[in-house]
């Protein structure tokens, strides 16, 4: 309504810019989607078109391993392989383990920092927060060496190890929330005979769904997109997560022309989970991301 009331020139320009930005944001993805349906031979002829002339599913069949190597080369493939189903499953397991275990561990620690006065709590909390400032490239080499020495290269445990126990931001964020919970509810539980663990599980956790989901959402985004660590640990195809698999699929033909059709089909497939999540949990995702900026 406000819109109709005051359509000043400034507003018109603003709308124009906003719409342009939306186009700039969405157009590349649509273009990628189109390319994924283009047969290999027609990439050049259709490069400026919004729709393929002869849409085909062969690119998708290729990345899901439904074509033999000869067939896929005939269909314009580079002979490169991507096992998109496996890497999708790996990504889900990798992200899932980290999100669940890390959020839980961080909630436990955050609760202790917020509510239990124990020796050294201030110092340790400061150290946890400071850990956010260490660039990941510093710990990368020692962590890699540790994983190698423990024989955890190419294992799921090795991939989740640096992430799943602790995350400075999650501890910090959840502690802020636990501090804001009314203390007398927990004191009532204490009088009712609950010990710290019971208070945590029966009172504090059930009251913390919203912030826990915020943390879990943020961790999901970050871990689903994490590249460098799994790239170092998972050298075996069977262990690769989506970003790693996509990168190695792309770089298997560094000299020749990449298999654009297959690559774009893989890109589309890798994008779909994000779009589905955005469709169902859009508000939560947007608000979670916004939360990071407010102290």
């Amino acid at each position: 309504m406000i819109l109709i009331k005051k359509m000043t020139p400034a507003r018109c320009v603003a709308w124009l810019v906003l719409i342009t930005m939306l186009v700039v944001t969405l157009f590349p993805l649509l273009f990628v989607a189109k390319t994924s349906f283009v047969p290999a031979g027609e990439l050049y002829t259709t490069s400026t078109q919004l729709l393929p002339d002869n849409p085909t599913l062969s690119n998708y069949k290729k990345i899901f391993g439904l074509l033999s190597t000869e067939e896929s080369i005939a269909a314009g493939g580079s002979g490169a392989n991507i096992n998109i189903t496996t890497s999708m499953i790996n990504s889900v397991i990798f992200t899932g383990i980290i999100v669940i275990v890390q959020t839980f561990n961080c909630a436990l620690a955050a609760y202790a920092f917020a509510r239990i006065p124990f020796y050294g709590s201030k110092l340790l909390f400061g150290a946890f927060v400071a850990s956010m400032m260490i660039p990941s490239v510093v710990t990368l080499i020692p962590n890699f060496v540790l994983m190698r020495d423990l024989g955890l290269l190419n294992s799921m445990l090795g991939m989740v190890a640096p992430f799943f126990l602790m995350h400075g931001f999650a501890v910090f964020f959840l502690r802020q929330f636990f501090i804001s919970l009314p203390k007398d509810i927990e004191e009532a539980a204490q009088l009712d005979g609950a010990n710290s663990f019971m208070i945590f599980f029966k009172i504090a956790l059930p009251l913390s769904w919203a912030p826990l989901m915020t943390v879990a959402t943020l961790t999901t985004i970050n871990m689903w997109n994490e590249f460098l660590w799994p790239f170092l640990i998972a050298t075996d195809d069977s262990m690769k997560t989506l970003p790693v698999a996509l990168q190695s699929f792309k770089s298997q033909t560094p000299q020749g022309q990449p298999d654009w059709g297959g690559l774009m089909a893989a890109t589309v497939v890798a994008t779909i989970p994000t779009i589905i999540m955005l469709f169902f949990f859009g508000r939560r995702i947007v608000e979670s991301v916004q939360f990071t900026g407010g102290k």
């Binding site: 004191e187 009532a188 009088l191 009712d192 005979g193 609950a194 009251l207």
Partner: protein, 367 residues
């Protein structure tokens, strides 16, 4: 037996001492009210008894057992918080059963106790609701119900009614009084409300800045306050204080007090006074009459503001440079600017020395 004894109880938060070596003796089944100005340590004292705060020095005994190292849950106390502190994610029934489950009570036992408590507090209809679906008064009843089912020796209330509106407050006050009669448990109750304190208490404990100023029955505190602080704190509206002088000293602990050019004899309990010492007279607003009294002081006041409440009126007035509040019963048409001649009986006067300590012991009315 749930008599409570505090011996030299001291509490420090970091360096800051907020409770200073408090000694207190509460009998089994007594209804005790803690009063005092904001920040004087009422809640802290209550929480020390509950065990929610650890005492820094001293001993707390409940039923003659040292409680210093006993966990809150094992002290036989239940607490009702000002904010109710109900578990928001649990139904009324779950709120009440939580503590018993923690203790491993049997299912039937839990059921019978909840039935009984919800009957007493008329919660039967509400058992399956969540706290947010309840009104303030209902929440408070649930909070009390949660305490009752614990069957504690001692109930602790921290300003339980202060979030309720005036009418509900009267209602709940009466319910709590009835509950005390029925359960015969020891109850400690913190409040800011004069009426709650006077009507509920068997014993009032007046606190100031972490010290106990006086302990006694409501009538004791009203008639024989130890000092000006208690005198000013108990009674509403507040007692009026006016400067006077010792004009003469008689042999048998009697002095002549001069005020407004009048001299009256008081029997006192001190022999440290000398002629010319300043003292303070205390007049309760309800004891000042609109007429000169035989054997008493009289003086003229100017009315600043008159509040007419129907049955009674309060006259906020001035005598020389002192503020005076006067309570007048019956209807009248007095108004601002009126000059009145008022009087007070000698037997209604309070008298304090320079340090604010009381000088006279008055006789309590007997039945």
């Amino acid at each position: 037996m749930a008599n409570i004894t505090l011996k030299n109880v001291t509490k420090r938060f970091d360096k800051l001492e907020t409770i200073h070596s408090v000694n207190l003796e509460l009998c089994d089944g007594e209804f005790v009210v803690f009063v005092g100005p904001s920040g004087c340590g009422k809640s802290t004292l209550l929480r020390l008894i509950a065990g929610l705060e650890e005492i820094t020095e001293g001993v707390i005994e409940i039923g003659d057992k040292n409680m210093n190292n006993i966990a809150p849950a094992n002290r036989g106390v239940a607490m009702v918080f000002q904010s109710y502190a109900l578990y928001p994610h649990m139904s009324v029934r779950e709120n009440m059963s939580f503590g018993m489950e923690m203790r491993g009570e049997s299912k039937e036992n839990i059921h019978t106790r909840i039935t009984k408590a919800s009957h007493i507090l008329q919660l039967d209809e509400l058992l399956d609701r969540k706290p947010r679906q309840l009104s303030g008064g209902q929440r408070q009843r649930v909070a009390i119900g949660r305490a009752i089912v614990r069957e504690p020796d001692v109930f602790l209330f921290d300003e339980p009614l202060s979030n309720l509106d005036a009418e509900l407050r009267v209602d709940m006050r009466i319910q709590i009084a009835q509950l005390h009669k029925k359960l015969k448990a020891t109850m400690i109750y913190v409040t800011h409300d004069q009426v709650e304190a006077m009507t509920l208490a068997d014993k009032i404990v007046v606190l100031r800045a972490g010290h106990i100023e006086q302990v006694g029955s409501p009538m004791e505190l009203y008639h024989n306050p130890n000092n000006m602080f208690v005198a000013g704190f108990i009674g509403s509206p507040k007692m009026n204080f006016l400067p006077a002088l010792i004009s003469d000293i008689e042999a048998d602990n009697s002095v002549i007090v001069a005020f407004n050019g009048q001299k009256i004899l008081f029997k006192i309990q001190s022999d440290k006074l000398s002629i010319g010492d300043p003292v303070t007279l205390g007049f309760r607003p309800e004891h000042i009459h609109l007429a000169k009294q035989e054997d008493g002081f009289h003086f003229d006041i100017t009315v600043d503001v008159a509040e007419h409440l129907g049955g009674i009126s309060y006259l906020y007035s001035r005598f020389e440079n002192n503020n005076m509040t006067i309570e007048v019963s019956g209807e009248n048409v007095l108004t601002s600017g009126d000059v009145l001649s008022v009087g007070i009986k000698q037997s209604d006067c309070y008298l304090f020395d320079q340090a604010g300590k009381t000088l006279i012991e008055r006789v309590l009315p007997n039945r």
